[in-house]
């Protein structure tokens, strides 16, 4: 491997006057001897889709879990542009974290067992989110669950089936409906289509894309699949061994990758 000649250093944003929605600075995390994240920083602007790629163990999923406040770092700062929560979100107590995650952040996991109550109905899974946020009208719960499932292009005649009885693609749609039911400021997608059949994967990605476009959602998507990232992301962060090795506009990362590792990734795919 030869040293990467430093490309021209990029400047701070000048034209983009809207502040970033998500700012993560200097996040590090060790699990025993394993360093999962080393001084990772990330910025996501409103309406933007940030893709995070990397092989397993690169720290990309750990980073996403931290964005969902499921795990706390050893060091680092995490802010969302929420007027009522101006400080470092890692400093919130457990209760405030839970409310923040339940009402302002949506997440779709690769493994639906992590995101869904498998033995409850699909509509009930969506309704639970609304219940946490304080909705107490049955008609409203029913209506809003139906709306969210419909937006996720879930077949409504099955809305009272249990996720246990549904296909993988359908389970992901229930997760998505649950994630968007409260119109979160941030949607996190952790390998949302990994493990699905290719045709189902395309349909789920299409739904995600459509939702993003219609609702101008801010999304962070993690995947080891470059095709998924290429379809979804405006900007891409490449991670390896807990570090960000490269980031840039999606078309630039795919057409003109700078780092040795990114070039290997891109060339392995194409």
């Amino acid at each position: 491997m030869i040293a990467t000649a430093p490309p021209l250093a990029l400047q701070a944003p000048q034209l983009m006057t809207t502040p970033p929605l998500l700012t993560m600075t200097g996040v590090s995390r060790r699990y025993g001897d394993v360093v999962a994240l080393r001084d990772v920083s990330a910025t996501v602007y409103p309406g933007e889709v940030l893709g995070i790629v990397g092989e397993s163990g690169s720290g990309k999923s750990t980073l996403l879990r931290m964005m969902n406040l499921e795990d706390m770092p050893d060091a680092g700062d995490y802010r969302l542009a929420l007027p009522d929560l101006p400080g470092n979100l890692f400093d919130l107590d457990r209760f405030a974290r839970r409310m923040l995650c339940a009402t302002r952040i949506g997440i779709v996991y690769q493994n639906p067992h992590l995101g869904l109550l498998m033995k409850h109905t699909s509509s009930g899974n969506v309704a639970e989110r609304l219940l946490i946020a304080g909705e107490r009208s049955f008609a409203a719960l029913r209506g809003r669950a139906r709306e969210a499932l419909d937006a996720s292009e879930f077949p409504l005649d099955r809305m009272d089936a249990r996720p246990l009885e549904l296909s993988g693609g359908m389970q992901q749609r229930v997760q998505l409906a649950k994630a968007i039911a409260l119109e979160p400021v941030l949607l996190l997608l952790d390998e949302p289509t990994t493990g699905l059949d290719v045709s189902v994967q395309a349909l789920v990605l299409d739904t995600l894309k459509r939702l993003q476009r219609d609702r101008a959602m801010t999304i962070v998507i993690v995947s080891h699949d470059l095709g998924v990232i290429r379809t979804m992301a405006d900007r891409v962060m490449v991670m390896r061994r807990g570090r960000v090795v490269e980031q840039g506009l999606a078309d630039q990362i795919f057409q003109d990758p700078q780092h040795d590792y990114t070039q290997q990734l891109v060339h392995a795919k194409l």
């Binding site: 209760f95 409850h120 109905t121 946490i132 009208s137 008609a139």
Partner: protein, 304 residues
């Protein structure tokens, strides 16, 4: 001076069966339970001469509260004369010297399984409910550590989720006994397997209620004048069992919670679940001296 003069004479057991330290622990936990209405307090459930699951939790609370001047009533599903109720009552009086009664008005302590008497309880009475499973979150969260955290967070969404799914499946709330209720606007408790009919009796009641589960080693309380609100949707009102129009075939009383007695022809007869209320009504009808107190339900309706 001898040892004999310095110590008390030998006795078969402490007053009220439980030893002093056990009662002290229970008193502390009962005070804590009053201080945080509806919040489950763990306690070291002691051995009593009865199998777990037969009311040992209620028994330990009652034993702690008893004194020689107490008047004790024990009911089992509304009846004073069931074997279990009778045995517990006689045990209580034997170890404390308390007087036994069947009459709700006369009792100072009422230990009950699955019912609250129909006659209004007063501020000087204490109700002790036996609880088989004190954890309302058990159906939605099998891990009790997680369930406790959910109580801490007042994270009760999944209890409404159960109600939501009952309405989706059956068109109405199917939860019968042990209807989860929010106490003092903070903790959700299970009011023990009393029917829905009895839940409103706990709301802003004059009397103190203890709920105790011996096997699960948890007790909690509803202090006097505390809000007890069954979990409901804003657009699906809470409904008690449809017993308002039923008439007891023995006492002739109407408008109380009834036991259904299937008849040979396929029909049913009904009799008062609160058996002593029925007995008093029959005595009155026969011209004997029997005082019936004011009841929670009037003409089958709970006044707001």
């Amino acid at each position: 001076m001898t040892i004999a003069t310095l110590t008390k004479p030998w006795e078969a057991m402490s007053y009220g069966f439980l030893d002093a330290s056990a009662k002290r622990e229970l008193r502390r936990k009962m005070l804590k339970a009053i201080a945080v209405p509806g919040c489950q307090m763990p306690y070291a459930s002691r051995e009593v001469p009865m199998a777990r699951g037969w009311g040992t939790g209620g028994l330990q609370v009652t034993l702690t509260l008893l004194r020689p001047s107490s008047v004790v009533k024990v009911i089992d599903q509304g009846a004073d004369d069931s074997v279990n109720a009778a045995s517990i009552r006689s045990f209580l009086s034997k170890v404390s010297g308390a007087r036994e009664t069947w009459d709700t008005l006369e009792a100072t302590i009422i230990q009950s399984r699955h019912r609250i008497p129909e006659e209004r309880l007063r501020a000087d009475q204490v109700l002790v409910l036996q609880v088989p499973n004190p954890e309302p979150l058990r159906p939605v969260e099998p891990n009790m550590s997680v369930a406790r955290q959910m109580h801490a967070d007042a994270d009760y969404g999944r209890l409404w989720l159960i109600l939501y799914e009952q309405i989706v499946r059956s068109g109405r709330v199917m939860q019968g006994a042990a209807y989860p209720s929010l106490v003092n606007g903070r903790h959700v408790m299970t009011p023990s397997p009393i029917p829905r009919w009895d839940v409103p009796k706990l709301h802003m009641a004059q009397h103190l209620t203890f709920l105790s589960a011996g096997r699960e080693k948890r007790l909690y309380a509803v202090p006097p004048f505390t809000r007890v609100e069954p979990l409901v949707f804003s657009d699906v009102p809470f409904q008690v069992e449809d017993h308002a129009a039923l008439t007891c075939h023995r006492s002739g009383l109407t408008g109380y919670f009834m036991n259904e007695i299937p008849q040979g022809g396929g029909g049913s007869q009904f009799e008062l679940s609160d058996s002593n209320l029925g007995i008093k009504a029959i005595r009155q009808a026969e011209g004997a001296e029997a005082r019936v107190g004011s009841t929670w339900y009037e003409n089958g309706k709970m006044p707001q």
